[in-house]
Subunit: 145 residues, 2 copies
Amino acid sequence: MTDEQYMQLALAEAQKAFENGEVPIGAILVLNNKIIARAHNQVELLKDSTAHAEILALTGAFNFLGSKYLPEAVLYVTVEPCLMCSGALYWSKIGKIVFGAYDDKNSYRKVAGSNNPFHPKTMVTGGILQNECAQLMKDFFLARR
Amino acid sequence: MTDEQYMQLALAEAQKAFENGEVPIGAILVLNNKIIARAHNQVELLKDSTAHAEILALTGAFNFLGSKYLPEAVLYVTVEPCLMCSGALYWSKIGKIVFGAYDDKNSYRKVAGSNNPFHPKTMVTGGILQNECAQLMKDFFLARR
């Protein structure tokens, strides 16, 4: 499967969040071309402001694999990670991060600037299906005004 | 109770981590002078590289209170928070953070530099029982060499 195809699955997760009144961000974790975790933002459901899609996907993968590191895994997430999620991804030593929409307001860049928060071996690609990923966020926040 | 007395309780949590072969960091969450969460690092036990004391304390408090924000709470943690935990504390809108030992290697400052990763309203105090908190870390890593 291509990056775009995996991102479509992350978008389907984001859509679930949207339908539940959650900020619509979704994530998929892939290892050896198999999906090992799917998650969407559940801040409202869990009343936990740290229950971001990336965190839930990582925790799911750690539990599934019984491993605290994911150097061979790829995370697909619909929006650029925040500082917390970037720190979590650092600790996971994840192999690759593929994100959709850039996020000037909440991404790690707001605090980290041009410093790299990820593990030195982690590869990062942004902008995959960015219009679709960004549109879902825009639709959500427009509807809430 | 004083900051030092609460930090002693966080140190007792860190000591539990030490005895379990975990990096010895402990945390206490206090609301209206009552302890609402206690936690220590459980990365090895849970095989989850994000299971830091601060994260576990926050999640415990969110569950206990049924609230996703903690603007009146105070976190006592034996070591300066990492980038991930700083991001989690940002989302929690926690009222105050009191930490023990400074950590030039793993604290959020490594990536954030002099930028503040916390919520603008969050107060931060460092260096409470810093020698005791740092010594426990030193003892742990010396024993592992």
